[in-house]
């Protein structure tokens, strides 16, 4: 019936009632007047309640799935200057600094000057870390080793903000730092992870010197695709001798249908 429509419209009409095949967004959900249907209204409230809970979720290195990572990669944990979740939310400056003495701990436990240092931060969704990192960390470190890069011992930073990468760069002088950090929880998913990347991060660096692969979760960027995008960006850092907004990714993110076909 839609055969003689322009391509753009035909595609959309053919998707029809199967919105979830192409997007997690709440589309074609109907209305009463200009208001939501009652089911929509209550579903939004439920999703908000779960997102609020995800903020204060936690993971332990002594329990699955993190304890398997400890076993395989000798993962250990340190903390930022933020001493509690409350302080973490109110004082982002503290979340951006390693706690006093941690720099020494890192130098004692990790190799300095490696090509790739991977760090795991709880960020605003500890749930994202325990959900996504187990399927991401192994492939990332394996492929890095295959490329002939020296790879540092990974570790966890609790109450972590992105800016902590600067202190880590200062402490370990890694050529490239990748921070896997829980994004703030959303309604559609509270388990979305981001990878922030920086070449030789130092005190005073900002997001202008960093690159980002975001939305890493099953309904977003698949772990395997995230690994390739991270590796591609680090390749570009090495070639260009810098990171940040001047370094552009060379491929577009994989679409949902492509990702699910693998």
């Amino acid at each position: 019936m839609s055969a003689d429509l322009p391509d753009t419209l035909r595609g959309a009409v053919d998707v029809g009632g199967d919105v979830s095949n192409v997007t997690p967004a709440r589309l074609l959900i109907g209305r009463t007047g200009t208001a939501y249907r009652t089911s929509t209204q209550l579903q939004l409230r439920a999703d908000h309640a779960f997102a609020k809970d995800a903020l204060n979720a936690t993971f332990s290195l002594d329990e699955s799935p993190m304890k398997e990572l400890v076993k395989r990669f000798d993962l250990f944990e340190v903390t930022s200057e933020a001493a509690s979740r409350e302080e973490y939310l109110a004082r982002p400056d503290k979340g951006r600094r390693l706690e006093a003495g941690v720099a020494e701990t890192l130098r004692e436990n990790c190799l300095s000057g490696v090509d790739l240092q991977v760090v795991i931060g709880d960020g605003l969704s500890p749930l994202a870390v325990s959900s996504q990192v187990p399927s991401l960390l192994g492939p990332l470190l394996d492929h890095a080793a295959t490329r002939g890069w020296s790879v540092g011992r990974p570790f966890v930073v609790r109450n972590c903000r992105v800016g902590v990468m600067n202190d880590i760069g200062e402490a370990l002088d890694a050529q490239n730092v990748v921070l896997l950090i829980g994004e703030r929880p959303g309604l559609a998913t509270a388990e979305s992870l981001s990878a922030y990347l920086a070449h030789r991060p130092r005190t005073g660096d900002t997001d202008a010197q960093r690159n980002l692969v975001s939305n890493i979760h099953p309904a977003g960027v698949a772990a395997e695709d995230a690994v390739w995008r991270i590796l591609g960006l680090v390749d570009a850092f090495v070639i260009q001798g810098r990171s940040g907004f001047m370094v552009k990714e060379s491929a577009r993110p994989t679409s949902l249908s492509e990702a699910s076909g693998r």
């Binding site: 959309a12 009409v13 029809g16 919105v19 692969v213 491929a251």
Partner: protein, 466 residues
Amino acid sequence: MKRSVTLRGETFHFADLRELMARANEPKAGDRLAGIAANSERERVAAKMALAEVPLSGFLDEPLLEDDVTGLIVDSLDREEFEKLRSLTVGELRELVLSSNFAAEWQRGVRDALTPEIVAATARIMSARDLISAAAPLRSVTRCRNTMGERGVLGVRIQPNHPTDDIAGVVLSALDGLMFGCGDAVIGVNPAGDAIENVVALEHALQDLIGAVGAPAQSCVLAHFTTQLAALERGAPVDLLFQSIGGTEATNVGFGVTLQGLAEGREAVLASHATRDGFIGDNVMYFETGQGTALSVDGHGGIDQLTCEARAYGVARAFDPFLVNSVVGFIGPEYLADATEIIRAGLEDHFMGKLLGLPMGIDICYTNHVEANQDTTDQLLVLLATAGCNFVMGVPGSDDVMLNYQSTSYHDAAGVRELVGARPAPEFAAWLEQTGIFADGQLAEGSANGPESLQAFAESVKELGR
């Protein structure tokens, strides 16, 4: 300048204008985080009293910061108009702004005599209703492929974001928004990936959609402006050039932005428009801002977040933008702690932008780590619609599935237009009637009501194309 105020026997001293401004600000988490907020409610009021007596000339005599943004603000000031106002105090300016016939004086030239710092000072001695009543008569009309900002017009940006930039998902989301009468401000997608190929693909997809349905609307892919310009060089259709900006040079450095770069980008987009059809004006920039951004990149220079925000508008004003919006609850509780602070900031930002002559919209929003909820956005939406806000966001079901925050929805936008009797941009409104999305200026009964509506809309567009 008066540096101290005695209030019921207690004397408060303020070291300089920068400290006085910060202490006089309404409560904001970001000012507390920066360590510059008032130490008590008494001190806050004392600072407001002292500030109300500062003459406008005082703001030129004592720049809060020496940087290229200050340079731009000073250079763009209409000196002749300013001379007429220089001896007014901030308190007297508040009364002028709220007086009955101010809009005409503003239109005639007063808006060019006001600096961001003066506007930011005035806002902090105004109540919420002051901010609404003062903003409402001030209209900033801009043109790109349609006309935004006329009295009675409330525009809506369709924000069809997708966690992997899946084209089919983005297009379907945009179509859903169109069926609610949204999209006159812009169909603007925030890309999940900043790769040039990705931005090129999205620019073409949105333009194909606009072409297929025949809507007089503009598209935008909100990547870093350098990425959009790289896409333009590869032949991508760029209607609006987007960039996040801040109110200090240091903030803009943090965003990878220079004033020179923005000026060159604007010229490149204008040149490309000259080779394409459908443009009725030369407002081609789209800027986003938000209280707290300067502090978030450690670029505030000791200036409070309301003043930094106003200075960002000073930057925006220099580039004749089509749209400017403050993303008011986006960056978290360390800058705006809760519903009270978000609502106040939204009203302040809208007022300040309008007084400076900007086509001001607001992304009324909150994240899940702030003490706010959908009632907060509902409340601010109604307030801003009565304040004559140029545009708001339309996000499907209020849930941005890529940026992970909640804004106003397609439903909300359609609902508040009905509530306050606002219309879409005139060219766009005519198109909505043609396609049957609107009937007699209202959302038609059969529109935006599930998959069947989409089929009907597509058939209607096909008929129009014949």
